[in-house]
Symmetry: C2
Subunit: 491 residues, 2 copies
């Protein structure tokens, strides 16, 4: 059937690429680094988006839309930001094409050169704060709590579907506040929203922490993040929430008069997650047979496959299948009854396994006699004969169980793959042999961080928010340290 | 309050611009022709999008996502298409910026020139059909029924918020079929979806028809459209559905083997609506006090304004207001209780009128005594005293009534502003004095169409699908004609 994947143990990277392709999630386009998200992949992303959007609205945010293009000069206004973002980006220089003189097609019209080049947004702080300037006069105009769902472009040289692409889809929240305290609270609140989403919907446990200065967002005073552990022992940054201080307000001259009539600069946050979450979802749960999806994000919950010879048998089975499908749909369970006569049951089984459908029902002639069906779980691959009568209640329970089981399994994996290291050699050894998160002492300096990275290829993923105080010495410099931080090799 | 608008009769165009600004729907950005859709405007667009998306899915379509960028050479592959779209567009020529030598900011890095320029998509037929080529081998792979929600860019010289902007948001459906008949049925089905959405959700009556050859989409064999009539008597094309024949399949060499194993080119459709619908919605219903929204698309259905002196009175009123709000929310009615102490009731009344909130409740101390509230309809501006008891049932009925009333009013307007003309002078006269749709005979030639346009500034909006046969002569050429077509001046 050509559906088999490389094994994860043999070659995790090829396994991932093959899975993304064979589960029909995404593919590379002819445009360097830009992906095509196929309908099945997009349906999963839509489910993520809908839940996140609901969570943002429940925490008081509204959606809006800002321009795709940013005038080049805007990027330069915030010094750190331009260093971080003004390097690899798509630059629009002209606004017209014309027919080539030699009839060979169209060419750029040299007369249609823009006075100032436009950058396709790599992130929207600059264009948004340029607008907020006009929206904010008084403390009465604050807070502004806005989110936008958008495409952004960063000209990446080495791309991988979902994980690192030149164009990707994301949401970016941009909020404006009257006080530092309120802005920090917002930054932390949105980190909690991301963590809750990762755990409750993606069934993906995450660490919550802050980045070291070196790994901070360009222009932020503090970058909070959630970090997840993939099955190959590498970490993946799954979402970030930035406390931007007054940097962008100062760069774009955004002030407000407080209740005493005094003029002050506005405080800012920004926060985002992207289609990268698709990569995280895949690498957290999936196995050598294909995708494994948590029910809360699955486009199809139950696939029903008839096992039959001839049209009469199919008709009899269809009656039962449609009854079950009807009862399940009434409970908001998404069902696909696959009566396509052009494919064999074995092909369909492999297909729904590859696509990570949480439950599969098979119905054959023997089942009709017995009033049963065969029910198979995608997560454990367990099969059992189940009575048709009352099957809907069983499925409701099972879907919840699968959701929890996936989280538990991933949580166990993360725990079993979190180690402590007290020397740099120990860190290297663990990363070379087991991978995972490694807790180690660090003196808080950029120099030590970079040296450790150089020697071990590990970065500091975060300083966990709830890391206990523990006296120790930096594994590089031997200088004192008050808590362990999380090292890992990362995507 | 500075909230007043120009009157529609005096200056429709200024009225529109002021309304868009004062109802907080959108504004111009610093980037030429690109708009910022503000939260209130975006909430209306989101409501439109959600309903349309549901309708697309109910008719069997799936969402996907294709790249923002199109290689320049793709545009040239379909001859008509390149003529229509390869003119005014944003061209990406470079992929990197660098620090300027003189320290003045960033400049385009001349070493980072793309080998082939990329065009920011003005529409996605070319990039999508280039992908379909790999997705389609056999008749079993058909039909493909895909939609994408995306931003597109057409470098318009004269822009107006929502109506004509360089960047706009839209959806574009792109379907692939095994037979001509099936593709034509799809084209017509999606036109029906658009017409149903316009009428049932936007409360906007539309004509359904086909465009003349001259007004066809670049690359289509037939362009179907819905046309609406704005309050100033100008027509607005609100959605189009294109039968593309085999043009794109031939341009991108997309073939399939049919059930006999014979290789054939695939048949195509594409169809789209955009944020332009926001302009249509505004100009169909709104009045000199501001926006008027059909309840089915309103972000807020009911605004409750307390009328009070002092905190104690506000507290008493709040109890009643919250009870009502609670009962309404249980019925999925979106309520805003505006107890902001910084604004006076008169200001709030004007604000909710400007924003088109369908119903307003005012509660004062007298109402507390009487067990009543004052209920005001935005569409008719009628006010009445209504008992608090059972008000939720009344509001459910009223919201339906307002939805229907808006449609009826717009339908009457369109009927009263549809005229017949039998000579070109008559056509000119009607357009100069009354505007509206004008039904007139036309000989079917491009030449006559262009001459009529030159003399009257009117275009053929469509040949209505249900236009009755009627023998007549073309108002320009005098040649025979078998039915009247719809002329109008248009947005």
């Amino acid at each position: 059937m050509g559906k088999g994947l490389k094994k994860r143990e043999e070659d995790f990277s090829s396994w991932y690429n093959e899975l993304v392709s064979k589960a029909d999630l995404a593919e590379h386009s002819d445009v360097r680094g830009c992906m095509i998200i196929k309908p099945y992949g997009f349906a999963i992303w839509e489910n993520m988006k809908n839940e996140l959007d609901r969570m943002f609205k429940e925490t008081g945010h509204q959606n809006a839309y800002f321009p795709l293009f940013i005038p080049k000069s805007y990027l330069s206004k915030e010094a750190d930001h331009v260093e971080g973002f003004a390097k690899e980006c798509a630059v629009v220089t002209h606004y017209r094409l014309k027919n080539a003189d030699d009839g060979s097609g169209v060419v750029v019209d040299p007369d249609a050169r823009l006075e100032e080049e436009l950058i396709v947004r790599p992130t929207s702080e600059t264009i948004i704060w340029n607008s907020y300037k006009n929206w904010i006069q008084s403390y009465r105009d604050l807070p502004i709590l806005i989110n936008q769902w958008a495409n952004v472009v960063r000209w990446e040289m080495r791309t991988r579907l979902f994980l690192r692409t030149a164009e990707f889809l994301w949401q970016e929240g941009h909020t404006a506040h009257a006080t530092k305290q309120e802005a920090i609270e917002e930054t932390e609140k949105m980190l909690d929203v991301y963590a809750a989403f990762a755990q409750d919907y993606m069934a993906m446990p995450v660490l919550k922490g802050v980045k070291s200065e070196n790994e901070r967002f360009a222009g932020a005073l503090e970058t909070y993040c959630i970090e997840a552990l993939m099955q190959d022992g590498k970490a993946l940054q799954a979402g970030t929430s930035h406390f931007l201080g007054q940097n962008f307000a100062k760069a774009f001259d955004v002030t407000f008069s407080d209740s005493d009539g005094k003029s002050q600069h506005v405080w800012a946050t920004s926060w985002g997650v992207s289609t990268r979450l698709m990569g995280a979802l895949i690498m957290t749960h999936s196995d050598d047979l294909g995708l494994v999806l948590p029910p809360k994000l699955a486009p199809i919950h139950v696939a029903i496959v008839p096992i039959y010879k001839g049209k009469d048998q199919l008709n009899e089975i269809s009656v039962v299948a449609n009854q079950i499908a009807h009862k399940l749909r009434a409970l908001n369970i998404k069902v696909k009854f696959d009566d396509d006569d052009k494919r064999k049951p074995g092909w369909k089984f492999a297909e729904y396994e590859m696509k990570g459908v949480p439950l599969r029902i098979a119905i054959g002639p023997r089942d009709l006699e017995n009033g049963t069906v065969e029910l198979a779980r995608r997560d454990t691959l367990e099969k059992s004969a189940v009575n048709q009568e009352g099957i809907e209640d069983k499925i409701v329970v099972l879907l919840k169980e699968i959701q929890l089981n996936l989280f538990k399994k991933a949580k166990n994996f993360a725990q079993n793959n979190t180690h402590k290291a007290d020397t740099i050699d120990e860190l290297s050894n663990i990363l070379d042999n087991k991978g995972g998160f490694v807790l180690a002492h660090w003196d808080g300096t950029k120099e030590s961080e970079l040296k450790i990275k150089e020697k071990t290829k590990a970065t500091i993923r975060c300083v966990e928010l709830d890391a206990p105080n523990e006296k120790g010495v930096c594994i590089y410099s031997g200088k004192p340290s008050s808590k362990r931080v999380v090292f890992a090799r990362a995507y």
